[in-house]
Amino acid sequence: MEIKKPKIKSMQYEDFQDNEYLEKMVAELNAEGTNVLLGKLDDLINWGRSNSLWPLTFATSCCGIEFMALGAARYDMARFGFEVARASPRQADMIMVCGTITDRMAPVLKRLYDQMPDPKYVVAVGGCAVSGGPFKKSYHVVNGVDQIMPVDVYIPGCPPRPEAFYYGMMQLQRKVKLEKFFGGVNRKEKEEK
């Protein structure tokens, strides 16, 4: 089966920066071939999932204010259907780690992530969440949120502009559009050893 290109409305495939990564991902996922029917169902599921990414209201510092600006009138993330920010992790689809994660916060964040239902995505927003940012050398800062949980999209910036948020979110949408759910790929009901 040929590699499908994730389509995002009003932004060309070529305009995104890191298509190689996604193409590699598709090639890996499609290595064993896909059943046509299940492939179509996957497309349908991914359409629903990618267009309805509800973020968890989680902000530790500066990036949180930009996240609020993102939801506010000028940038209006409701256009993409992101506006249903849920305060409970049980109802959220993705966690936007806006701001520095400290040693004390790390287990809390991990717990929140653990309590989210599958499928769940993580977006690391801002320098601090990506790598520790300006506080990399501090004794109390986690150098990058990827040390404690898998990250899907990194949005650099200190804080990133709302446009950068959008770019990151659309990247996440593109990534979600490529996933495969049927065939029991994602079932991990037992504890991993």
Binding site: G48, N51, A73, S88, D93, P117, P119
Partner: protein, 358 residues
Amino acid sequence: MFDFSIVSSWIHGLLTGFMPEGLAIFLECVVIGVCIMLMYAVLAIVLIYMERKVCAFFQCRLGPNRVGKYGLMQVFADVFKMLIKEIITLKNSDRLLYNLAPYMVILASILSFSCLPINKGMEIIDFNIGVFFLMAASSIGVVGILLAGWSSNNKFTLIGAMRSGAQIISYELSVGLSILTMVVLTGTMSFSEIVEGQADGWNIFKGHIPALIAFIVYLIAGNAETNRGPFDLPEAESELTAGYHTEYSGMHFGFFYLAEYLNLFIVSGVAATVFLGGWMPFHVSGLDGFNAIMDFIPGFVWFFAKAFFVVFLLMWIKWTFPRLRIDQILKLEWKFLVPISMFNLLLMVLIVVFGLHF
């Protein structure tokens, strides 16, 4: 006026023509069930979309516009996603009650939804005590909310459930009294008869002052019944994260979400039926030509137009007012709405007894 019962009896006749009556009735029941389900889902989706667009409009935003034309597919995507989201099983919860709660909530809203007369001859459940039944059915929802909050074994949900318990049952009283006021005017509890009785003028005009007061009381109390702002205490996001359904994920949460919007529609639908004439067109006595034109518009259009008008009113209120505190909510109910609706009831009785209504 188009009578939907013609259609249903025609279908019945057609079916009994080539199959035994028992089977025909069974088939009809299945069709009705599927219709309820479809209408329920479609209405919820329309309402959610409407809410998002309306609030965006109030807030100088655009609202959903990327998924589908004008964002029309947005809610489908949301519902679809919720449908395929993991449902978390809690460790320390009361399993049975935890799983029972969404059934209760959905049952309450579907039962009360089925009572609404959408068109002439198009009411699914039409008891002669319809109003009474609707109030009884809708209060099953409180049980669902209490169960949800209690069984989750979470402190936020527990407080949320307690709050909603106190709030919803309190406001049920005002809803009851204001509808009772209208029952005094119409002299019947059956929804179809209430609508029939408004052929010569909507109740809100017929009952003038007390009807208007009852309408306002009903709107306030109904808004509180549906847990919507400014009475959205039970789920008060900025206080209790997500209130009684904090621990519900995926479709479990989806049911609460759908039921919330459907309850909004039911409250508006009852308001439209009892106060604004339901599917009855707008008639002005004397202007026969005008009335005839109005009659051309089908009943269900009238019904939905009126119901959605009330929905819009309630949304307007929600997106304008800040949230009340729990003691203020109960004070508003017990010290203002209950006495007002009691005296309003007496006023209405006086008017009816002395024939002062139109």
